[in-house]
Amino acid sequence: MASGHVVETTLEFPYKRSLGPVIGAFLTGLRDGQITGVRTASGTVLVPPLEYNPETGDSVDPTPVPVGPEGEVTTWTWVPEPAPHHPLDHPFAFALIRLDGASTALTHVVDTGDPAVLHAGLRVKPRWRPAGERQARIDAIEAFVVAEGGGAGDAGGAVAGRGAGDEGGGDRG
């Protein structure tokens, strides 16, 4: 009975989060391959969409506003050794991505295979999970990948290209 006896405990629970109209519309939109925001009274397009204007608290018109699907990295970091709770099992980037038409940046994952590819302003597009597997969750987009012509080591990004976009193209009015 070493004096260094250690107590191991695990806290585990499958929480069920109800989403409400705005978050529900956004996440089911992702499930259907479409990215949307909401527009505040002052014209700011919030992505991800919120039920309220974060600056004032006032309610926001919940009408989904199509944005993207492409956008620009504003800041990023590289995760060289992903942990179990990370979204990908190979090195990847977390980034803030301002989608075309959005006033704010979405926090998400960028999978370029090589950190050297990353820079402020990098054009990226979504790599959707296969339609059958997609759920109403932020990770319906598995990751963003380099947009123009596919960057080096862009795991399948280039191939997915326009194809994935057609299903739920951003131009659906």
Partner: protein
């Protein structure tokens, strides 16, 4: 233009949260655990007020003085039921208990300490009552472990003492355990 496909059940997202904790037992609980494995209750007497706590928490909360191994002593594993209830297990994620169990607070003899949350066996549940004289029912030494002791002060005896059982001695009156019904 909320999408009509968005029906109520779609609007729930499951998020399983799993967190692992590993915390060393404080020295006082290690000594208490070693006592349990040896079939003994180790308590501690406050140097300022003389109250005896089991287990030793490392301090007396009433005098606000720290305590150490020097204040520790062995305490008898007998006592009296000060208060109790019978818990009908409610099902929830991770709950394994299914049968009702007694949850009793035992005031240990010659101490000012309650061993909370003890099961009472050797008597039909409906006959359990405050004032009942009981003694600890120990697991055989080789089956004992420090399962129940947590670093946050929760010192359940699960790993060594399965329950308390009547000793057959006459009941004690309420003034013997008044002030220990928590």
């Amino acid at each position: 233009m909320a999408d009509d496909k968005v029906v109520a059940e779609d609007l729930v997202m499951e998020q399983k949260v799993t967190l692992h904790y590993s915390e060393p037992l404080p020295p006082n609980f290690v000594r208490f655990g070693e006592g349990l494995l040896a079939g003994k209750f180790i308590g501690a007497r406050c140097p300022s007020c003389g109250r005896v706590y089991v287990p030793d928490r490392g301090y007396c909360p009433l005098c606000a003085v720290m305590m150490s191994a020097a204040d520790e002593l062995e305490v008898d594993d007998k006592g009296v039921v000060a208060s109790y209830t019978v818990i009908t297990p409610v099902n929830y994620y991770g709950q394994t208990k299914t049968e009702p169990f007694v949850f009793a607070s035992i005031l240990l003899d010659d101490t000012t300490t309650v061993m909370r949350g003890q099961d009472i066996t050797g008597i039909p549940t409906e006959q359990v009552h405050a004032g009942l004289r009981v003694a600890a029912v120990w697991l055989p030494p080789e089956e004992r472990s420090l399962e129940g002791i947590s670093a946050r002060g929760g010192a359940s005896l699960e790993g060594s003492v399965t329950s308390f059982a009547p000793t057959g001695e006459p009941d004690l009156s309420e003034d013997a355990y008044r002030g220990y019904e928590f």
